[in-house]
Subunit: 261 residues, 2 copies
Amino acid sequence: MTTSTPRPRASLGDYRAIARALRDEITAGRYRPGDQIPSERALAAEHGAARNTAREAIAELRREGLVIAKHGRGVFVRDRPRWMRFGRRRYSAAMRSSSELGPFGAEAIAQGRAPHVDSTITRAEAAPDVATRLGIEPGAAIVRRENWYFADGEPVQVGITFAPWHIVEDTPLADSADMGPEGIYGQFSARGHVITYIREEISARMPSREEAERMQIPDGVPVIDLWHTGIDAARLPFEVTHFVMRADSTALDYDMPVEEQ
Amino acid sequence: MTTSTPRPRASLGDYRAIARALRDEITAGRYRPGDQIPSERALAAEHGAARNTAREAIAELRREGLVIAKHGRGVFVRDRPRWMRFGRRRYSAAMRSSSELGPFGAEAIAQGRAPHVDSTITRAEAAPDVATRLGIEPGAAIVRRENWYFADGEPVQVGITFAPWHIVEDTPLADSADMGPEGIYGQFSARGHVITYIREEISARMPSREEAERMQIPDGVPVIDLWHTGIDAARLPFEVTHFVMRADSTALDYDMPVEEQ
DNA sequence: CACGTCACCTGGCTCAAGCCAGTTTGACAC
DNA sequence: GTGTCAAACTGGCTTGAGCCAGGTGACGTG
């Protein structure tokens, strides 16, 4: 300690107060999306607090997803990303034939964003998660199709599709990224599996560190974790897809009859 | 500074390293749910770091939802909460008549947890959010039924139901918590609105500070934000409910036909 | 004009110290 | 035995210092 001053107990020195002040200014529109907020050092001076305290206030706003810090550049108010909505209709035949882009591309364009998909296709063995949903034995041969979906160059969701190998064998499903004009469900149709019912299991959680890095998810943004199962007219599951979606830019939207079909 | 020692740059002094070490011990089962992990001071000593650094490591684990800190007592490994699943069936007539508890109570009991609901019923005016979903004018008279759902005494979700006043007038819906044996949808049925379709708009986000406090949501746990609309056989919406659910203990589970009914 | 380089910003992280407020525990008085 | 109260723990928060690394722009040199 420099001197033995009893530390005058700073006037307000509360990181929550600083956070609140900033939050208010942001929500009031004094700082707009993309604007830079004062630096940690400036905030500290302004509030008569230590830099660490200002830093803690900023950490709180980051956790809330209000701001985003860029090393060496500053802290900026987050853009409220545009929402992309997905629901039951993305699987309908109408959607399928109306667009070469698939449901993701169609929604992206509807939101004025440029879609782009990266695919990696491999053969694999069914993990228990997948096997139970497909009604097959764990370890059975499957195809694994990992798709990264980008809007305006930003990754917004990943979907990993699994299907039994005996269904996809000798079709583009087994090894090609190009699903033709009818998309992936057109290919399954051609093999006799018309998507008729879907099951969607939805939860949310914080991304793992790895997911946060690969999807460039800022602090304070959760992900939607969605297991989708495609079921054919014979009530047999033929495909499951595990989606992980940025929750700040994705909403799910379902309408359905209440009673059993 | 006490002296002008050049600070020997701690051996590892990385909060991420400490966090990783702890995380590994937790996932490996060395610390089990409910166990107390070493105190901030002990961790710091153990790793030859400053207490602040150990503290930062713990903060990371809290954000990840792995541990929970109790002031004055210590830091404990979180119990993995049991999941409650909700889906389309909770609105079905079968569910309605089978249980006096409603879908929440039924699911809680299925999970071996004791359900409990707190209700506050008021008359209000429709906010734009609500009005557009109900297809009425903003500001129109509505009933507002706020329900807090508890499992084993812990609040796990809130649902605020809104319905037009002209529908609920002179029924228990307008002012009573007791919905009778058929539950809330039984009451709507009696007024000519049989729930036939539902629309569910789902997203996820971090809880606000206030929500986190009222629902006792630990750090690092997001919430599922669900707008539910009840639609009758004439395709008219008669009720909307805004749910906020702890995402670490709630999953949504829908199965539905792909095509329009 | 192009290109480097360097000062000066930014946030990221750490340290060592200290005060405060909850919680537990055990010694001591009654 | 029962109650009380203080000591010794816990986490919560703050200070002010310092080093590091990324980013930017002015300035100077070729």
